[in-house]
Amino acid sequence: MTTTQRPIGADAAIGARFTGDGAGPGPRIEKPARTGRAGARLRVTLIHVVLVVVGVAMVFPFVWMLLTSLKTLPQLLQDPLSFWPKPWTFDNFIDAWNAAPFARAYANSIYITVLAVAGTLITASMAGYAFARIKFRGSRVLFIVFLATQMIPKQVTLIPFYLLMSRLGWVDSHLSLIVPAMMVNPFAVFLMRQFVLSLPKELEEAAIVDGAGRWRIFWAVILPNLRPGLGALSIIVALDVWNSFLFPLVLLNSPDLFTVPLLLSSFRGQFGSINYGLVMAASAVATIPMLIAFVIGQRKIISSMAASGLGGR
């Protein structure tokens, strides 16, 4: 509850220093002040030039997607190098929206992602807490199994997984995407264990002395203190579930059940080679909302992904 008590999760530590405009922990040193002023300024300018070039390379495909989507087919065919649309047209967006159930796909993706994230947060934080703090027989072996299975590529189990889902009657149902995502995520368990280990033991000790059971300790003491970790985990899992492609491709057949990436990929076969404007409009419909959401939450998203890349350190 109180901010002073909040322990530093890995992502909070990284996040503070990350964008460079916050007051990060640890001393900052002014580097350019040491060397000659002019030399330092030249170096910073050079760095900016390089980074701007790379930045343009990263952004140009998105810009080109938008520009292409706003052009008419004749212009695209006659003059593929023209930069600005002439005339500007929104027809491609209208056609793309009418050609495929995008609203439905967004609804599907949102609800699959929300359920998968919520489930993972609960099951992984419970398991992470148990592996970190509760002594029970077999916990070491179980934890090693969790670490080891991370080495198995998901694709290795693609076919038996599909057969299992069909046995359960979950093929062409969102259950096949939601339930497994909610119930198993070794990386999430590992990450939550790391976050629990970073909490001071005194937090629960006081509660144990007061006679509180594990269940109450978990919900009242641990979970509130895990908030930075849960935030990071939900971003990682949400991105993973939202963007996953191979498993939905195999498991879903009805267009009404499609997720956003799956629906987008259907444009490839149907209209792919001819109508570039339409395909780019569909891509824009599938990406722009995500990019806007990313820009709004960029600080938190970037620091969470950095923390996960460092293995929760």
Binding site: A124, I134, K135, P153, I159, F161, M183, E205, I302
Partner: protein, 315 residues
């Protein structure tokens, strides 16, 4: 409330040894309950399919007729199948190009970014492809790389050559897959390396500077060695995920490209399993992918001792 740092917990209830063990016993049950959902999920959705994979790899089954055991036949036929061999070569090429080039660029960019005071805009630009689904990335690049698209036309105009057919030419198709993969994943590695660079204690850098180290010495002798554990960790993960390339190949080069030029192992598994319903050979290919992953990771861990610098106490 909890200001006392002493270990209160060692003996919470004075005297009651029996009480203590009752609490311990109850606690153990809580432990099982807490790990329960994930353990059940692990058993049902990971271990059972995994064993299923191993079983199917030694069987012949199309999902309709009864399953028959065929021993190592699937492996023998797969390892003689030019399509699988091609897939393995392609997958390894993608990994061997994508990982070093991608990580190399990322390190350079991270080092450059670290020198700046405000870098939010750059981070957002570099990271945008990471949050975009691979399918969308591949669709966008498919338009960029068309032989009559922007890139080819610009190259043709500038150099006065025939426009390269990025996706139609078998050799260029594989390179296109690498370019798109690097483009899509670079931002993630940049922020991981940047976080790593920021973890380097400023006093180390200062000390080296006082000793007269220039920018290059600082990079090669201080920053790179101190960053090497993170680079190693990232390279292991990047390699594993390169071995699993599917989305880009499926979308960008429409079903594994001209003449299977970009067919990867995962595409091969998918094609055998869901294109031809040959579950046995497909599972054998899956097991081959697993073995390949384990062997390459083992090699990386073996090479680690030579190239990775671990500092005691540094995290």
């Amino acid at each position: 409330m909890t200001t006392a740092r002493s270990s209160l917990i060692e003996r919470p209830t004075p005297g009651g040894l029996r009480k203590e063990s009752a609490w311990r016993r109850r606690d153990r049950r809580w432990g099982y309950l807490f790990v329960g959902p994930q353990v059940v999920g692990m058993a049902l959705f990971v271990l059972v399919p995994f064993i299923g994979s191993l079983v199917l790899a030694f069987a012949s089954w199309d999902g309709l007729t009864p399953l028959t055991w065929v021993g190592f036949d699937n492996f023998i036929s797969q390892l003689q199948d030019p399509l699988l061999l091609r897939s393995i070569v392609n997958t390894l090429l993608i990994a061997l190009i994508t990982v070093p080039v991608g990580l190399g660029f990322s390190v350079i960019i991270a080092v450059a970014l670290e020198k700046l005071k405000t870098r939010t805009l750059y981070l957002v630009l570099f990271f945008a492809p990471v949050v975009t689904s691979t399918v969308a990335v591949a669709m966008i690049w498919q338009q960029m790389l068309r032989s009559d698209g922007v890139l080819s036309s610009t190259i043709a105009k500038t150099f006065g050559i025939a426009p390269p057919d990025w996706l139609g030419d078998p050799r260029l198709a594989l390179i296109s897959v690498c370019i798109v993969s690097i483009w899509a994943s670079m931002g993630l590695n940049v922020i991981i390396f940047l976080a790593g660079l920021q973890n380097i204690s400023p006093s180390v850098i200062e000390a080296a500077k006082i000793d007269g180290a220039g920018a290059f010495t600082l990079f090669w002798r201080i920053r790179l060695p101190l960053l090497s554990p993170i680079i190693f960790f990232s390279s292991v993960i990047a390699f594993i995920s390169s071995l699993q390339t599917f989305d880009v190949v499926f979308v960008l080069t429409s079903n594994a490209g001209p003449d299977n030029a970009t067919r990867t192992i995962v595409y091969h598994i998918y094609d055998l399993g869901f294109g031809r319903f040959e579950f046995g050979p497909s599972s054998a290919a899956a097991v081959i992918l697993l073995v390949l992953t384990l062997v390459i990771t083992a090699i990386q861990f073996g090479a680690q001792k030579k190239f990775v610098h671990y500092e005691d106490g540094a995290a």
